[in-house]
Each structure stands twice: as C-alpha cells, then as structure tokens.
C-alpha cells in the first residue's frame, strides 16, 4: 500500500478543470442574459453547474463563461427564468473532449 497522502483530496478547482480537454470555439454555444438573472433569488445555476461557470458579480448580476463547459444541460434545466439561458451544442468538433470517461 502507498503511504497516506495528507494533502488528499485537496485540489484547486482550476487544477480540477485542467484535467479536462477542451477545444474552444470562438462562438459561445450558451448565452446567459444577465438582466434576467439580476432579480433571480434562487440562482441554482451557481451551485449546480459542475464546471462552476456561473459566477455572481458584485452588482448582482451573473457572469458566465462558456469555455470549459461539459455540455451537460444542468444549467438550463435548473434555471427557472424563461429565456435567461440560451442553450445549444457547440459547433461540430468543438467543446469538451473526454478521454477516460
């Protein structure tokens, strides 16, 4: 058996995402309408997105970055604001590329 690693299982979120391969398209496949989010009280996307792509801003909006998206669909399913999230798949060949899943 290997020695117990005391740092286990601490890993920063950016290191976690660095284990995933992405071919990033210039065109965002998901667009978030920050105005619709401003008065949303539940903001389930922030907790649920497995890639942590929804970040609350100081002025009460939500900042979204599509680049490290798993294309899973969680955000549009938990979102209860009609039209806040426009969701589609990236153009062919782009987006996440799984290897050992």
């Amino acid at each position: 058996m290997t020695e117990r690693d005391e740092t286990w299982p601490e890993i920063s979120f950016s290191d976690r995402m660095a284990t995933v391969e992405f071919k990033v398209s210039d065109k965002p496949h998901i667009v978030v309408d920050g105005k619709a989010c401003a008065d949303c009280s539940t903001r389930e996307c922030i907790m649920a997105c497995p890639a942590d792509l929804f970040v609350p801003t100081s002025d009460g909006g939500i900042l979204f970055n599509y680049e490290q998206c798993f294309e899973c669909g969680t955000c549009y399913l938990v979102c209860n604001r009609e039209g806040a999230i426009s969701w589609s798949y990236p153009e062919g060949g782009f987006g996440v590329i799984f290897r050992s899943t």
Binding site: M1, T2, E3, R4, D5, W8, P9, I11, F13, D15, R16, M17, T19, V20, K23, T42, E44, C45, M47, A48, P50, A51, D52, F70, E71, C72, G73, T74, L77, V78, S88, Y89, P90, E91, G92, G93, G95, V96, I97, F98, R99, S100, T101
Partner: protein, 439 residues
C-alpha cells in the same frame, strides 16, 4: 419514394447510433452516421459498467475485441452513514470468462469501436458535425414529416427517408419534433465523476482482484442531504469515483457537486481505496433518471428516437444500466428503418414496428417492471432513514456489550427503526413497492 441523399441519417455516434448504423448498413441502406464531437465517444461519460450480451448477434464473439478496462467479477452494494458502512459483496469467478457479465470501459474507446463496426458495415461516419435542426416536408402520408437534418456544415442539409435521433439526454431532435414536453428537472440526475490514477498493482491489492478482474461498487447514503447515490469502480490503472445527484435537490442544498465527491472520498470505507491517487480526469453528464414516466414518444413521421434521447436509462438502485438499452434500442430502430423503407411507408404508422420491438424485449419490459423503482430509490426514506436503520441494526447485532446479554433481533429491529425515525406504515408500503418492482 423521393430522391434523397441517404436512406437513413442517424444523429449521434454513441452506442445507440452506432448499433442503429450497423443494422441499417448491413440491411443495405445508405446510412449516414453524424457525430458532433471530433470522434465517437468524445462527448460521452457514464457511471461505469457495460453489459454487452445484447451484441451476441450483432458482433459474434464481441468479447475478443471489445476495448474494455476490466471484467466485473465483484459487485458490491454499500450502504453508508457518516461513520458506518454495510456492504453486500458478491464475487463470481465465472464472470472473468466468456460470455462474461459486465465490464468497465472508457466510453471514448468503446464508442469508437462500435462506430468502427458501423463503418465496416458500410455506413458513412461524419464527425465534427452538429445537427442544428430538422428538415420537414411533404411526404406521401404526412404534410409535416421529418425529411432530413440541418447541420452546421456549409450546405449542410442532408435529406433522408428516416432520421434516427440518438443525440443523447438533451435530445434537441426529439424536442424539436415535439416528442418531448418541456423537460422537468425532477426527472434528471447529474453524474459527476473523477477518474483517479493509481498503479495497476495497487488497484489489484486494494480491491482484491488480479489480471483483468474488476470491481463495481454502488453506494447509497453517501451524498449528504442530496438524494442520489455514488459509485466506485476499477479501470485498469485508474479508479473511477463519482456521485449521481438529484438536480432539484442539488441547488436547494447549497452544496457543489465536487464537494459531494470529496465528502464521499473522505469516508473511512472509501478513502483507503482511492487515497494517494492523482486526479486524471474530471467529468460530468446528465442522466435521464425517471424511467418509464419520462419517456417521450419514440416515433414520428420519418423519425425514430433511441438511447438516452428516448430516456432509455434504467436507474433502479441495484440495477444501473444504460449502454445496453442504448445498443438494443438502436438495433431495433435500425431494423425498423429497413422494414419500413422496404414497405415504402416511413410514416409514424409505417415505423410502428419499433414500438413493438421495444415493448416485446427487455428494453421496455425491464422499465415496465421497475417503473416504481427510480422514485423509491431516490425517496427520502431510502436515502436518509433506511441507511441509518440498517447500519444501526448491524451495529447492534455485531456489538458484544458484556456484561449485558445479547438482545433479541426483534427488539433490535424495533428499537433501531424507532431511533432512525422510520414509521411502520411507510416501511410496509416501501417493502410492498420493492417486492412488486424487484420481486
């Protein structure tokens, strides 16, 4: 019939799409298999085990060539509370020899292998191509039949007699065709997984296996306040650890998915299996969890839906299957397309053989039989109360509390049931439901 680019266009080269393509191409149809990723499987992730016996006819002796990681010879079900673990651990030596039972595999390898078979059968595989919509038109029997797909390639419209939607859990094709209502988040779970590198010898020692033998552990009670489950399974030189989380509970509990995995990995029953390993790949995917109750219409005029796109995923606690349902439904969709095109009727009625095939085989038989199981498995009682009760009973049975004499089993059960807050009426009802589902 009208002149078309292909007889069949299949959207998505996962297990459903590739099996549909193998059947269709072998049946002499001009078959186009579209994949939005750079290679088949590049978008796919799952909770770990394939059961390939459905391939016996399609790819005889598939076990000689399928790119698996390990053959599952140990199958454990583990019930956790914060400080306790109760396992039912089954080992079967016969599962390490043909025809095997289950196997762990990397989907990018497995799906590519299946797509290679489709190409060998004569199908055209086109990757890097996202389908952006359906073509509709007048057919002999319908004014609004599906007549092909629109893709994001220049001049990317492709016409076909039959479109088979194998485009996964978010199926935009099935939605656009009006076969799905507005999706309800209650019907989905989020799977998140860590693939963790460890030397093969260390994995063999920790899990008590050797050579290509592997272990699949399904876990309940490991997801905190969020209803769901967990899994640990062995690949050749990685261990996969993940959780499946009910979407509607995840956000409400104010817990992030990776933190749920981290908490499970800290459990004394899990930590020794994975500690010291390095994160090799993190991944996430949605699961159509609700079974029969969420399934869309499976056919339209010129359209068939298979695999996750048709919510053909079995989440029944002790049985967690999806790839086999995808492969089977894809095969039946391919067979149906051949039959309908030969008969010159690709309307919804002409494609009716698909529903019959699904209904007469395990694909819908298993789902009908287990239709109550997904809700039962994710119920608050099964998730939170019963793990506390059964581990409590185990603790009292195994505790030697001298000078006290051993309590009787009936007393232990009564006391532990009350301590865990389990009401008799609910227990009877769940027992009855479980017996009707699983019995």
């Amino acid at each position: 019939m009208a002149e078309v680019d292909f007889d069949v266009v299949i959207v998505g080269a996962g297990p459903a799409g590739s099996c549909a393509a193998i059947e269709a191409a072998r049946g002499g149809l001009r078959t186009l298999l579209l994949e939005r990723g750079p290679f088949p499987g590049s978008k796919n992730m799952y909770g770990g085990v394939i059961y390939p016996r459905i391939l016996d006819d399609l790819i005889p002796d598939w076990w000689n060539e399928v790119p698996i990681q390990r053959w599952v010879t140990r199958r454990s079900t583990m019930i956790l509370t914060e400080t306790r673990a109760l396992s039912v651990d089954f080992r079967n030596d016969a599962w390490s020899a043909p025809p095997y039972n289950g196997a762990t595999a990397y989907r990018p390898e497995l799906d590519r292998w299946l797509a290679d078979h489709a190409v060998a059968a004569g199908a055209t595989l086109l990757c890097d191509t996202t389908v952006t919509g359906l073509l509709r038109g007048q057919s002999r029997r319908s004014a609004h039949a599906v007549t092909g797909v629109r893709t994001d390639r220049p001049d990317g419209d492709v016409t076909a007699l039959v479109v088979i939607a194998c485009d996964g859990v978010n199926s935009f094709v099935a939605k656009e065709a009006g076969l799905y209502g507005t999706p309800n988040p209650k019907n989905f779970t989020l799977g998140v997984k860590e693939t963790i590198s460890l030397p093969k010898q260390v994995i063999d020692e920790r899990f008590g296996v050797r050579d290509r033998e592997g272990v699949d552990i399904e876990i309940i009670g490991c997801t905190g306040g969020i209803n769901g489950g967990g899994f640990v399974y062995t690949n050749l030189a990685t261990v996969a650890v993940g959780v499946v989380l009910k979407l509607t509970k995840l956000a409400a509990q104010k817990t992030r998915p990776e933190d749920v995995i981290a908490a499970m990995k800290r459990h004394s029953a899990i930590a020794p299996l994975v500690e010291g390993g390095e994160l090799h790949e993190y991944s996430a995917h949605l699961i159509p969890e609700a079974g029969l109750s969420m399934m869309p219409g499976m056919t339209g005029d010129g359209l068939l839906v298979a695999g996750d796109a048709a919510a053909l995923c079995l989440s029944a606690g002790i049985w967690l299957e999806g790839v086999n349902f995808a492969m089977a439904s894809g095969m039946y969709a391919g067979q149906t397309a051949i039959e309908a095109i030969a008969d010159g009727d690709v309307s919804q009625r002409g494609l009716g053989g698909y529903a019959r095939r699904l209904s007469d085989t395990f694909v819908l038989r298993d789902h009908r039989k287990l239709r109550r199981a997904p809700e039962l498995v994710l119920s608050d009682r099964v998730q939170h109360l019963y793990p506390s009760m059964v581990t409590g009973i185990a603790e009292r049975m195994f505790r030697v509390d001298n000078p006290s004499a051993k309590p009787g089993l009936r007393r232990i059960v009564r006391e532990e049931r009350k301590r865990a807050g389990v009401h008799l009426r609910g227990l009877w009802r769940d027992g009855h439901d479980a017996f009707r589902s699983f019995g």
